[in-house]
């Protein structure tokens, strides 16, 4: 009984973490039609900066807020100084399919190598802002801690706030319009480039939150080579694709499905089939619904 409950809890908390990354990826995809592999690098960079803020202000929450601002700035800079040129030069022909992927992969490598040059060899630690020891219920310690509660709440908040922005505000409408059909949006007076940059900025902030929240929830240690961040990117991307790249709700649903399926398979089948289960789940979902669980029909339009 406790094992079952714990498995569900592990699934939800790890799902929440994949969702954070998935939200960031979906934000960029929705507003700029780019699968942003640099997200892991941006998150890593923001988390390092977040660590510096923690040292300076001695408050995790202040640091979280500031590093989200920094993350947003980094995202905006990448888009306005770099992706914009890229789209102008490589926005059509067969290269248009791979150019953004390649460019963001290159950025990921660049950020990692630069971080390695600057902070390489020195691992830094981020302590949890609230207890990461599991709650006790009737003498049993559950696989769920105050820190994980904070993470789950942050994910839901992010999803809600961003969904509201997208669905209910003029900015949201402009964001959607400029991604859906840049030419028509431009004719309608939307500043398409600005909207793209805004999408990148929002994603940068979400990625920074993911990095700074997951680090103390994981090992607490940060390094430029961090395996955790690479895997966070891969699993976040898988979650986003499972959920359908078009929607923020999808990102969270995808993350939760991936988290729960992994937790159950690892607990009740075998501990050594993590990667192949993730692949199998992704393929199974896409064979049934080629645009993901929450994807819309005819999603092949970009």
């Amino acid at each position: 009984m406790y094992q079952l409950i714990n498995t569900v809890l592990i699934g939800i908390t790890s799902g929440a973490i994949y969702s954070l990354m998935a939200i960031a990826l979906v934000l960029v995809w929705r507003s700029a039609r780019v699968v942003n592999f640099a997200q892991a690098g941006q998150a890593l960079l923001s988390t390092y900066i977040g660590y510096e803020f923690i040292q300076k202000f001695h408050s995790f929450w202040v640091a979280l807020f500031l590093s989200m601002l920094v993350g947003a700035a980094v995202g905006a800079i990448i888009d306005s100084s770099f992706m914009r040129i890229l789209f102008r030069r490589a926005g059509h022909g067969p290269i248009a399919n791979v150019a953004p992927i390649i460019a963001t992969l290159g950025l990921l490598g660049l950020i990692r190598a630069l971080l390695g040059l600057v902070v390489g060899g020195k691992d830094v630690r981020i302590n949890p802002p609230v207890s990461n020891v599991g709650y006790t219920v009737a003498g049993h310690t559950m696989a769920f801690s105050p820190l994980q509660l904070v993470i789950v709440i942050s994910v839901l908040l992010l999803m809600l706030v961003l969904s509201l922005i997208f669905q209910r505000t003029n900015v949201g409408l402009a964001l959607r319009a400029s991604a859906y059909s840049p030419e028509i949006a431009r004719l309608a007076g939307v500043r398409v480039d600005g909207m793209r940059t805004l999408g990148w900025a929002l994603a940068g902030a979400a990625g920074a939150a993911a990095g700074l929240l997951q680090t103390p929830n994981g090992t607490g240690v940060l390094s430029p080579d961090s395996l955790e961040f690479s895997l966070l990117l891969v699993f976040g991307f898988i979650a986003a694709v499972i959920g359908g790249l078009e929607s923020l709700v999808g990102a969270v649903v995808g993350g939760m499905v991936l988290g729960l399926v992994l937790a159950f398979v690892l607990t009740y089948v075998s501990g050594s089939v993590v990667f192949i289960t993730a692949f199998g789940l992704l393929i199974a979902v896409l064979l049934v619904k080629p645009t993901g669980l929450v994807g819309k029909r005819g999603g092949r339009r970009a």
């Binding site: 790890s14 973490i17 599991g134 090992t219 080579d225 699993f235 690892l266 607990t267 501990g271």
Partner: protein, 436 residues
């Protein structure tokens, strides 16, 4: 259309021709003045490939600089038979393809005299078959893997192992557990590949029954949520003693997650993932390690009464930027120490053949920090074959049980597990090789 084709061909041939030119104009390297590759009258060049970057690098990336530090110390004191040792370090990122190309570089471009302490079973195997140091006669000294197969002289004629094999470790650990915790329920976390399979084979060989076995995929310890599933599976079976036989990042993930899930059985750590500094650097508080059991074949890193540790610590302070003195640094220094012993034993007229012969002839008598014997002979290329057990102190340092190193030895086959009577040779004066 045809015009475009022709231009395509022209461009292609231009590119190809340039490529060919680049390849063909590179001159062959000059030969060294001494009769043996990588050796001159004043210098010896050695090479190592090891992961310096990438997921497998933490911990291991400290080994090369520790080796360099000891060589620098020896060089500052006159070198070996008047020759100074340089070490060329290459990053293989734990990828066999890179290990092969980097080893090619070391042998064909850098022209090293011998390869030192390569790491990773798949890497060493790929290098052994493709680059084939055995056929080239290049010594591969003191391989950093616990796979027992590399000690087979017929297949790997120039290769010498150093670490006790995983099977040896599991056998000795099984006996220790049976004696210390009779009738207790035992659990195991292991890496689901050859590393773990060897451990399972060793436990089985020594007749240890495991109540719960939790496998994990190599690398999955970094996926959010995965370590939590290990701990809840272990705690659901409620074993009294849990063996963590994985790499250090997995050991650290298991210990850290267990701490926040308030799960605290009696922990026993395998030596691969048991380096206290690496575990603590991976975010595990020293308090969690306190009271756990660990194994080693070298003296405890904090044991300043040990003459080797004392020497290595002072070298570490002077030549290694005073890096944290952990087991990786100790292994690196000790490997370099044994290498220098071997080179000194090979005499003034240093050749690759001579070096191998010297290790086979005198290797079992080499001075080293190891508390278990080295088993080199004309028929055996096996290095250390034993372990002692200890307990992690409140600061998270491994200390021998009862303050004495009680070493048990065995082999990778069906041999018995025996209490070792090996007496370590005294350290030569100042830890420098005795010049003939």
């Amino acid at each position: 259309m045809i015009g475009i084709n022709r231009r395509r061909l022209l461009v292609a041939s231009a590119v190809l021709a340039t490529g060919g030119l680049v390849v063909s104009t590179v001159p062959a390297q000059a030969f060294s003045p001494h009769s043996e590759v990588g050796v001159t009258n004043s210098a010896i060049k050695l090479g190592v490939t090891i992961p310096l970057t990438g997921a497998a690098s933490p911990g291991y990336n400290k080994v090369p600089s520790a080796m360099k530090a000891y060589f620098d110390y020896v060089n500052a004191n006159g070198g070996v038979n008047g020759r100074k040792i340089t070490l060329v370090v290459k990053d293989d990122q734990y990828v066999p393809t890179l290990a092969v190309t980097q080893t090619n570089d070391l042998i064909l471009k850098d022209k090293v005299f011998a390869l030192l302490a390569p790491l990773g079973t798949a890497n060493v195997k790929a290098v052994a078959t493709r680059v084939n140091p055995g056929r080239r006669g290049v010594p591969v000294l003191f391989v950093n893997t616990g796979y027992s197969g590399f000690a087979v002289k017929k297949t790997y004629p120039t290769t010498f192992t150093m670490l006790p094999s995983y099977i040896v470790e599991a056998k000795i650990m099984a006996q220790y557990i049976t004696e210390t915790y009779p009738g207790k329920k035992i659990g195991l976390l292991y890496q689901d590949d050859d590393f773990g399979q060897d451990a399972l084979a060793g436990f089985k060989q020594a007749g240890l029954s495991l109540a719960v076995k939790v496998p994990y995929a190599s690398g999955s310890q970094g996926v959010a949520g995965v370590p939590a599933t290990w701990i809840q599976k272990l705690s659901a079976a409620s074993p009294d003693v849990v063996i963590l036989f994985g790499v250090s990042s997995a050991t650290a993930a298991a210990l850290g997650t267990a701490a926040v899930m308030k799960y605290a059985p009696k922990w026993i750590l395998g030596s691969v993932g048991g380096d206290a500094t690496t575990i603590k650097a991976s975010g595990v508080p020293a308090g969690v390690l306190y009271g756990a059991t660990g194994a080693s074949f070298l003296p405890a890193t904090t044991d300043t009464t040990d003459e080797y540790i004392k020497l290595f610590q002072s070298i570490n302070a002077k030549y290694n930027n005073n890096a944290v003195f952990d087991n990786n640094v100790l292994v690196g220094m000790n490997t370099a120490f044994v290498t220098v012993q071997a080179i000194a034993a090979a005499g003034q007229n240093l050749t690759r053949k001579g070096l191998i012969a010297a290790i086979e002839k005198n290797g079992a008598k080499f001075a080293s920090a190891g508390l278990a014997p080295l088993n080199y002979s004309t028929t055996s290329h096996v290095g250390y074959n034993g372990y002692w057990f200890g307990t992690y102190s409140p600061t998270g340092d491994l200390k021998p049980n009862g303050g004495v190193y009680t070493v048990y030895t065995t082999d990778s086959g069906s041999g018995a597990i025996v209490k070792s009577t090996y007496k370590r040779p005294a350290m030569p004066a100042d830890g420098l090789p005795t010049q003939p």
